[in-house]
């Protein structure tokens, strides 16, 4: 019995420690800008604003703007974007607010899809629907 209680206590502690060390809040650009906390890990989701994407192959600097229709956040990332990442499409980035006016992304997540989406499905994304699907994205480093 005592052994069981010890095991249970250790487990509860592990779960508690695990949760407190690794929770990641999902925010939209508007939510992030309302209360930016530099250094805290967020998952930021929005649409890659058409025309905002720049890529410098030499320095591997990838810059773009994420938008939720209400606010926009400039994002910087080191390295190429994953497959399925493109302007006008939804993306979720994980990283932190730099405190200098941009979001520093460590990971870019794009959704893999089991089925093709016809081009017109994504050409005019409804922000609401887009955010609904993005909020569910899970990390794949």
């Amino acid at each position: 019995m005592a052994g069981g209680a010890v095991i249970l206590a250790v487990l509860v502690y592990l779960v508690y420690a695990g949760v407190s060390q690794s929770v990641v809040y999902f925010v939209t650009p508007a939510e992030l800008l309302a209360a930016p906390a530099p250094g805290k890990t967020y998952r930021l989701g929005g649409m890659v604003q058409p025309g905002s994407l720049t890529w410098d192959p030499r320095s591997l600097d990838l810059r773009f703007i994420l938008s939720d229709g209400k606010a926009t956040v400039p994002v910087r990332h080191k390295g190429t974007a994953p497959d399925l990442f493109a302007e006008g499409r939804g993306a979720v980035v994980e990283g932190a607010w730099s405190g200098e006016g941009y979001f520093k992304a460590t990971t870019i997540l794009a959704k893999h899809s089991e089925e093709y989406k016809a081009p017109h499905d994504t050409a005019e994304p409804g922000y609401k629907e887009l955010l609904k699907t993005l909020r569910g994205s899970e990390a794949k480093p």
Partner: protein, 651 residues
């Protein structure tokens, strides 16, 4: 009204559904009233249902092969450019077809149950049949209502949309099949468990009968998980094999409880303990296979896998509720017959080690469950979307898995009931010393990562216990006049369950080493190279030699050529590519790699200049990843040995 393949398929499904329902009800009636005519009718229904599902499957395969785009599912998952064998495997390329495959396997297993147990287990058999047919009826209901594979598409398009390019891979052919064999395989022990409860024969019988089913189901589930890792590794281009994604977790949870079940039934067979626990475990395992499907298909938790979503989630959740309520009511009704006859004599015994193994496995399953649904909990409680990622799962599960590894060394050798100090010393002193020496040597060699060090020392310890045990057994047989080969072979065959288990444990350890090594020692970098330029990583030099473009059957491909050298010695030429599918808006990376026992060189082509003068490449040197796949092979050998007919007793 036109009558074509869609209508025929739908008709077959509906007839199958009613036959399954009738068969399930008839089997129960027959069992309760003792009127064998009902059981015989249920039996005929079971065979007919399997034939109908087979017909559905053949019909759909035929539609794929003949490009019958009047069926929505065919149009959505194939097009005229899809290669021949992917047109067959496109059958399970998406939800609706997967359900057919699942139902077909269930039907096949029901058929085998009919063949094997109609005479041998006259009392349990009708109940088993009714549970199997009940589950089958549910899947046919799913095929008839929320996920109809034969839905007609009007107007008929000239060409289909094609299979997702990521699924055009050998891993995607085998991974779902193995996984579904695992999922459906657990239905048989589950059905026998419920039958045992219904009849009131709650002894060891149902466990003995389904022993091999459990091992086979467990094996295929393990294989499915490993093949999934292989697919993720060589297709997705992020260099990893496991990401604690909800879809992966969904398959991992039943694996954990199934593994617990596989072990705890041994205690019941031997000591008649844990009756209630074993029944609970198999109900949970079966429930988790349904829950996984609910989780991934309902859309309540998003995943990178992004399956099709729809009302199917409601069906699975309702069925899960019915299954759990029904099973646990049955359990509660029979609870007075489920008192264990044996008792735990000592904490230092095989029983208690197995018990601990169960506690850890179920705890791991629970934490995976908790982490997976965590976003739902926080959203319900506080309205914010919060998720826990890989760090949570790693932090919580690594201590559990290391403990399990340790128990793997203790369990098979420690005595039943009560282990004496003398037997502990005899069995464990040398292996423990070997583990400690290994840790010291590895530390001296420069292995600094504590997790890897612990894992490797534990592996040496566990291997030591097994070698010692096997060596003693071989020596004992030698004394009775056998030669070396005869002694070893005879031992493996005569005690195939025990040594099959040993080999499976070896396989798990090889996988564990692969996981530890790859997490600790892999390297990765990214660089943009002009033609002739190179990048260095972990002793390798990767030079960009140029780009080439080509037209393939259903896509356009840009291939980069990179020569890889280790120091000054040329090793290989790798050709990662980007594939442009006309219907996809963004290209798909095609990874190229050189696999090795110690390390893989792994290249992903990123961006490139259109004139071919410059390309961005991601280079990874992944250590010991191959051990995962090797572990899978060892696991296969062990499982095969364990399911050989028991030669000591007539089966």
């Amino acid at each position: 009204m036109i009558i074509g393949a869609p209508e025929i398929g739908y008709a077959l499904t509906v007839v199958g559904l009613f036959l399954a329902l009738w068969g399930g009800a008839a089997a129960v009636t027959g069992a309760r009233s003792g009127r064998l005519a009902f059981v015989a009718s249920a039996e005929r229904a079971a065979v007919a249902v399997w034939a109908l599902v087979t017909a559905c499957m053949l019909l759909l395969i035929h539609a794929f092969l003949t490009f019958d785009f009047s069926i929505r599912y065919v149009a959505a998952n194939t097009n005229r450019g899809t290669p021949f064998y992917y047109r067959i495997t496109a059958l399970w390329g998406a939800l609706e077809g997967s359900i057919i495959l699942w139902a077909w396997m269930l039907g096949l297993f029901t058929f085998i149950v009919v063949l094997r147990y109609r005479r041998r287990q006259p009392e349990l058999y009708p109940w088993v049949l009714s549970v199997m047919l009940g589950v089958l009826a549910f899947f046919l209901l799913v095929m008839a209502v929320p996920a109809p594979p034969f839905e007609r598409l009007t107007p008929v398009p000239a060409d289909g949309r094609g299979l997702n390019p990521l699924l055009e891979d050998s891993g995607m052919i085998t991974h779902p099949v193995a996984l579904y064999l695992g999922f459906t395989g657990f239905t048989v022990p589950f059905a026998f468990a419920l039958a045992a409860l219904a009849v009131g024969r709650t002894g060891e019988e149902w466990i003995t009968i389904t022993r091999r089913w459990t091992i086979i189901a467990w094996y295929f589930l393990s294989l499915g998980l490993l093949i999934g890792g292989w697919w993720s590794y060589h297709v997705l281009g992020w260099g990893g094999y496991w990401a604690w994604d909800p879809v992966e977790n969904a398959a991992f949870m039943p694996w954990l409880t199934g593994t617990a079940f596989l072990h705890s039934v041994m205690i019941q067979e031997r000591r008649r303990m844990l009756k209630l626990w074993n029944l609970t475990l198999i109900i949970l395992t079966f429930g988790l296979t349904l829950f996984g499907t609910f989780l991934t298909r309902s859309g309540i938790i998003g995943s990178v896998h992004a399956f099709t979503q729809g009302s199917i989630g409601v069906f699975f959740l309702s069925f899960l509720a019915v299954v759990l309520l029904g099973s646990f009511s049955l359990l509660a009704w029979r609870v007075d017959r489920l008192k264990g006859q044996g008792e735990l004599d000592s904490i230092v015994s095989r029983e208690s080690v197995f018990l601990l193994n169960n506690v850890f496995l179920v705890a791991a399953s629970f934490t995976v469950f908790f982490g997976t649904i965590f976003p739902l909990l926080t959203e319900a409680a506080r309205g914010t979307k919060v998720s826990v990622g890989a760090p949570f799962f790693n932090l919580v599960n690594i201590p559990l898995f290391l403990s399990l590894l340790f128990l793997m060394g203790v369990g098979p050798l420690i005595a039943w009931r009560r282990a004496s100090a003398e037997s502990l010393r005899r069995n464990f002193l040398k292996p423990v010393l070997a583990g400690l020496v290994a840790a010291a040597v590895l530390r001296a060699l420069g292995v600094a990562n504590m997790l890897v060090l612990t894992c490797m020392a534990l592996v040496v310890f566990v291997t030591g216990t097994m070698v010692l045990d096997f060596w003693r057994a071989v020596r004992a047989r030698r004394r009775t006049g056998h030669g070396w080969a005869a002694a070893t072979g005879g031992l493996l065959v005569r005690q195939n369950r025990r040594y099959g288990g040993f080999v499976v444990h070896l396989g798990i350890m090889v996988v564990a080493l692969g996981v530890a090594g790859s997490q600790a020692w892999s390297h990765s970098t990214e660089a943009t190279l002009a033609k002739g330029e190179s990048v260095e990583l972990a002793g390798y030099r990767v030079r960009f030699d140029g780009l080439a473009a080509s037209e393939e059957s259903n896509h356009f491909k840009v291939t980069g050529t990179f020569s890889v050298a280790h120091g000054t010695r040329p090793v290989d030429v790798l050709q990662p590519a980007k594939k442009f599918y006309p219907r996809e808006q963004t290209p798909i990376a095609y990874v190229d790699y050189r696999l090795g026992l110690i390390e893989d060189v792994y290249l992903v082509l990123g961006d490139f200049a259109r004139d071919g003068t410059q390309a961005t490449v991601k280079v990874q040197v992944n250590r010991m990843v191959s051990w995962l796949w090797l572990g899978g092979l060892v696991l296969t050998l062990g499982a095969a040995l364990a399911v050989l007919p028991d030669s000591r007793r007539p089966a």
